[in-house]
């Protein structure tokens, strides 16, 4: 070792050797300033290079020891989802950062990541990248930003420890999760329909995926405790906006959506209503229903207990399925509404005077669990959150 150091000192004192070193350094400098592009590993550069705002306008200049990326939105208002979580995963280590305001991110060797170890990017290594989640096996469960979907893929570094990746992310769909529905064909009778809290209870809506190959993920249920009234001759459903999310796994041999579901209510949304089409024929009912007559100028209030579960969804042939698209794939969710505890549902039928109709015959039906017999108050029957009332006289 001493001989080597002595030798280097002597070499440095030699003017010719020194000139050669300077010339070689100058050559390296020229080489670096040229437009030579690094050789990327196959399959890691599928997208054209993007211009980075604030850069030199010539596109990305590959920086060794860096994994660069930019998230592309598959829809929504902007081309990029801003400020979204990106993870770089190698074995059991995970480095987490947020994108900038135009969806760009980069991981660099030696960079400090809060709460994590310093990152060293190695050459020719396949790293996992996940967007809006954590480890791949956690994707489709908890989701940091419910307004967006989740994505997972690979990125492979080259000999200079450089790589780039462009995840394509799907915004969450906003879908209607139905909590109650009323169907009525009575134009003249006034109908009130109330869900009133008489004790502690909640309505829980659980979901399942009807597509084969996609499993249910995220929150598998959503609950609401509410008091609402629906009135008038109408057929409407009462709903709240929820985020429908999906996880696209591009690490698979055949990349696809592998999980889907409802993550949460859209913040600060109120209940709203949307028209529902009657799908039950009252003349062909073969389950329990209630017939009653109301004389013109009078009315009656009926009550029943609402408990148990009821499946809503496309498979049941009712118009409450949740359908949305993610990564060009149409996904259909089914809903099952379950009430824990007991609540009272009441409806009233009043026939205004002045029409000359005399008695009007009505039929009511609720496809909930148990027998539906609201006429026997206080020994009420049971029903669901879906109520049908028909004027069977054809008078209104």
């Amino acid at each position: 070792m001493d001989n080597q150091m002595f030798s280097v000192r002597r070499t440095a004192k030699n003017p010719r050797v020194l000139m050669l070193l300077v010339a070689f350094s100058f050559f390296l400098l020229l080489l670096a300033m040229s437009n030579t592009k690094p050789v990327y590993a196959a399959g890691t550069v599928p997208a054209p290079q993007r211009i980075i705002t604030g850069g030199d306008g010539g596109g990305i200049t590959p920086t060794p020891n860096t994994i660069y990326g930019q998230i592309e939105s598959l829809g929504g208002l902007g081309p990029y989802p801003a400020r979204i979580l990106v993870n770089l995963i190698q074995f059991t280590s995970i480095w987490t950062i947020y994108t900038d305001d135009i969806g760009c991110f980069q991981f660099q060797t030696g960079a400090y990541y809060p709460g994590q170890t310093s990152l060293v990017i190695m050459p020719n290594i396949r790293y996992e990248i996940t967007v809006n989640g954590g480890y791949i096996n956690e994707m489709g469960g908890w989701i940091p930003d419910p307004a967006w979907g989740q994505w997972a893929g690979y990125v492979v570094t080259d000999d200079t420890c450089w790589a780039q990746v462009y995840p394509r992310l799907q915004p969450a769909a906003q879908v209607n999760v139905t909590y109650a529905a009323l169907f009525s064909n009575t134009q003249f009778a006034t109908l009130q329909y109330g869900l009133q809290t008489t004790s502690t209870f909640s309505h829980s809506v659980s979901f399942n995926v009807l597509n084969s190959g996609i499993s249910i993920g995220y929150s598998t249920s959503s609950s609401a405790t509410f008091t609402c009234w629906v009135t008038g001759a109408s057929s409407i459903s009462v709903a709240k906006h929820h985020y429908a999310n999906a996880f696209y796994d591009s690490t698979l041999t055949n990349p696809a959506v592998v999980k889907a579901g409802i993550s949460s209510q859209v913040p600060f949304t109120l209940f709203y209503s949307y028209p529902a089409m009657e799908y039950v024929d009252p003349s062909t009912l073969n389950v329990s229903y209630a017939d009653f007559s109301i004389n013109e100028g009078s009315g009656q209030k009926y009550q029943y207990s609402e408990t148990g579960s009821r499946t809503w969804g496309a498979t049941a042939g009712v118009p409450f399925g949740i359908i949305f698209s993610a990564w060009s794939q149409v996904i259909t969710l089914g809903e099952t509404v379950t009430t824990s505890g007991i609540s009272d549902v009441s409806f009233s039928v009043y026939v205004p005077s002045g029409y000359g109709y005399g008695f009007v015959n009505f039929r009511a039906y609720s496809p909930g669990a148990g027998s539906f017999n609201p006429l026997q108050d206080p020994n009420k029957g049971t029903g669901g959150l879906e109520l049908h009332v028909w004027d069977m006289s054809g008078k209104g």
Partner: protein, 315 residues
């Protein structure tokens, strides 16, 4: 003599225990809150709607409607002109807000002339107009979890088959929503008002609610009740006991819900709203020191409560 001493001691001990349970605990640990009434405070009078809200629900909507002046006679009246700014212009909404109470309920009413249907409503979906009262329950000028609030939303169906374009709208949906002030909401990264059920709370203060809407004039009328206190429900801080007198800060809001709230890059707070005494939407500060004061006094129940003489079948 020994047994007499024991008996005497036991008697004194018993008196001490009983007085502790029946006097000391209720008056020290559960001391009734009796606030001093500041000058300029709005005092909510004792009254009951007449007819009751339950009875109003029985009135056919295409019959002659009920008038809030009569139903809420004797209530505190606040005449407010809301101005809701929208891209299509400003909706000027002359309004009257009514507040009254009995021993069990706070009654809230409002007539909003010209509010019109929600501009986002269409044949595929109806979105609500809403009236909102927020309370600084502790009246300390600082909002802290879980201050209470009441929101009454009404979806006015657009005129269509079965609904005459003029006259009283016969296709309405309405709902009562309980509110809490949360010190941190992840969705917005800060403190804000939130719905109790969105926080996982039971909607515990809902009483009855009725609404009517005049298609001809775009007038919305709302009446609602909220429990002053419900045994077993303590999630909301608005839990007022008999014999108490509370002074609370309060704020009114009238709004039109935006269904694009938080959707694909839209701001989470995107409703069209005006407030009273001033518009502060979205209310993100916890400073409520400037709010007007509202007084509910349960210390001296009157012999006869104006309005409905029997509570009837109110829930």
């Amino acid at each position: 003599m020994q047994w007499k001493r024991v008996l005497l001691f036991s008697l004194l001990f018993l008196i001490l225990v009983v007085s502790t349970f029946y006097y000391v605990l209720p008056n020290v640990l559960f001391r009734p809150r009796i606030d001093a009434v500041p000058a300029g405070a709005y005092v909510v009078p004792w009254m009951r709607p007449n007819p009751s809200i339950q009875d109003l629900l029985r009135v056919p909507l295409d019959q002659l409607p009920w008038t809030l002046d009569a139903v809420m006679a004797g209530a505190l009246r606040l005449d407010v002109t809301f101005r809701i700014a929208m891209p299509s212009g400003t909706r000027v909404i002359p309004s009257t807000v009514y507040l009254g109470h009995d021993a069990d309920y706070l009654y809230m009413g409002g007539r909003f002339s010209g509010i019109g249907p929600n501009p986002f409503s269409n044949p595929q979906a109806g979105y609500p107009d809403y009236f909102d009262i927020k309370f600084d329950v502790a009246n300390d000028g600082v909002l802290t979890f879980p201050e209470g609030g009441s929101m009454m939303e009404v979806v006015v169906s657009l005129p269509g088959p079965g609904t005459p374009p003029h006259g009283w709208n016969t296709r309405l949906f309405w709902s009562y929503l309980d509110e809490v002030w949360r010190n941190y909401i992840a969705a917005v990264g800060r403190a804000a008002w939130d719905f109790a059920d969105a926080y996982g709370m039971t909607v515990n203060t809902a009483g009855e609610m009725a609404a009517e809407y005049d298609n001809s004039t775009g007038t919305l009328v709302i009446i609602s009740s909220r429990h002053l206190w419900r045994a077993g429900y303590y999630t909301n801080s608005f839990q007022m006991r008999p014999g108490e007198r509370w002074v609370m800060g309060f704020l009114l809001e009238l709004g039109l819900a935006n269904p694009n709230n938080g959707a694909n890059g839209h701001p989470v707070y995107g409703d069209y709203v005006d407030g009273w005494p001033i518009n502060t939407y979205p209310y993100l500060s916890n400073d409520s020191s400037w709010w007007p004061k509202l007084v509910i006094d349960l210390t001296s129940p009157p012999q006869t409560i104006p309005g409905q003489t029997t509570p009837g079948t109110k829930t």
